[in-house]
Symmetry: C2
Subunit: 353 residues, 2 copies
Amino acid sequence: MSEITIVEIAKKCGVAVSTVSRALNNHADINPETKKRIMEVIKETGYVPNNSARNLKRTDAKCIAVLIKGITNPFFSPMIEVIEQEMEKKKYALVLRHVEAYEDEIDVALQLEKEKRLRGIIFLGGGYRHSSEKLKALNVPLIFSTIGSPVSSKISKAEYSTIAVDDKLESSKMVEYLISLGHKKIAIMTEGSEKMSVGQLRLQGYEDALAAHNIEADEDLIRYVDKDMDHYSLENGYKTAKALLESGVKFTALYCVSDMLAFGACRAIIDAGYKIPEDISVAGFDGLNMSNYYSPRITTIKQPLDEISRETVKILFDIIDGESGHQHIYFPGELVEAESTAPKKKKKSAKNS
Amino acid sequence: MSEITIVEIAKKCGVAVSTVSRALNNHADINPETKKRIMEVIKETGYVPNNSARNLKRTDAKCIAVLIKGITNPFFSPMIEVIEQEMEKKKYALVLRHVEAYEDEIDVALQLEKEKRLRGIIFLGGGYRHSSEKLKALNVPLIFSTIGSPVSSKISKAEYSTIAVDDKLESSKMVEYLISLGHKKIAIMTEGSEKMSVGQLRLQGYEDALAAHNIEADEDLIRYVDKDMDHYSLENGYKTAKALLESGVKFTALYCVSDMLAFGACRAIIDAGYKIPEDISVAGFDGLNMSNYYSPRITTIKQPLDEISRETVKILFDIIDGESGHQHIYFPGELVEAESTAPKKKKKSAKNS
DNA sequence: CTGTTAGCGCGTTCAC
DNA sequence: GTGAACGCGCTAACAG
């Protein structure tokens, strides 16, 4: 179990540790032959430098951390791919870290910053509000991606960047669309967390759209997912839709603030014997890949993840290179009209099949 | 940018560094009041201990690494949750690391082992064959989960554990089921990588089942997904199914070796104007959550992920505690009959609708 | 209960 | 081109 160290490699090669270190780090001042011999011994012994010790000394590590809130969310997968590509181009190393639901992403970031020499941190998902002290303690550029401002009310917007779609606006766009199809009794399924959240913002968009068309918001049509379960899961979508259907409240369209919820809801609606979109129109949000493969294909707001990802990286490097300050950018979402929504049928609500 | 260290905290509190260290590590021998004062200063300053330095010293870190191959695969999500719970019970820390497709999971493990004081490593997914030297260099218990043996032919099975379903056997079970429904022209969509892989094992199961029923394997019915794309993606399933449909080859059932492929295939079949299961039966493998929410629900082989996960952790700790040696366990999969498969219609193939 | 001190493994000055 | 020595931030003895 005794780990092999650089000292032993040095002994085996009959050189000093510093020479081994130079060989390891592609240093210039070293005899190619010496280097070759050292590298051979390293290969033989299977020696791997201790990264902890390295990080303790190193100052020039080009490293960026990406913290993702929620491992089960397929939403981020395509973003990660793009970010990885971009980082590769820039020759920066990437540390991917999943942040569990119970963890605070800022705490994780603080820890990571000590562990590695981070040049910047990208947050994917997560909360809107963070302690300003902690945020300030993070001495590297912070980019919040897919999270619109404000991240903290107590901290200047010049201290971090945000790149996202305007959840409230896009949400109202979707509801406007449903209204344009003739729907008036539009149910919404969202997240009921007390704090400011994507779910809350999208709910506001829903309310705005209804208000703009003088449609009275009906409390019974606003449904919150079970907060004791994964908020944006299939199960939660199913369960919440089932409860809605069984409550007997009439509605002709159901807007789910996430595609995952929409999938679950669709299944519940189908199981209840209704047809989508003939009896009930269903709309989602996010533009997950699956929304285009589900049956029916889900009408959704597609977030331009490629652009968001690329811009996220670009802004980060602009800041690192001192070419710009922090920015707050909104990208437009794309309303994808698919099979799950249709004009409201005349004289027939969902409940009297 | 100058990082705050334990020394400065000590100075600020007027105590020695060791006292701060003790406060930090919940050591017993410390005055509660002193500790409280120290913790306050720590909170004020936003100090976070440097983990690299910690790991350099610490010898008793109870830490387990979980390496996951393929971030986009939702298959592992539920496993991670269970493993996290179990680790919490055991009071062990968990390091989650995603291994990219181009990375070698063993190399990543080697690096991680140096960085942290690992007590064990769990591999989720990944290849079947690994260099025995590297495997040996890993001086901690290795558990390969959802990967059946052998991991290496050159290394003794007593050097690592495997917990998985018997892919070949379970696969043949599914094909047997399709045959029992009267299907004879059963297409398969699998992964065509040269090396030993889950896809290959499941293909063997398919061939075994056909052979057992004297059904001649038809080369045209064996379809490989595009290896330049993510193997088990919706797109790949769609694309491969589309090509199969357009080739004009007749078949009444399509068996996809992964649910993700099945979802994509279903969409392609529906788009081509066929009905599932009336015209074509579709079967998957894995038992993803989504298979129960897709429309139609997908007939699949459900892997007992909860049990596999729990057993994975159990075996690891049995080995750590010296209570047992390495083991190789197969769990049975569960054939879930759902809406996507039906008995073959008489006198009517999929092609003459 | 608390302070002093010796390394953990490595990278990096400096001399040589 | 190479080696010796120092210190990164921290924990764990060992004294006090």
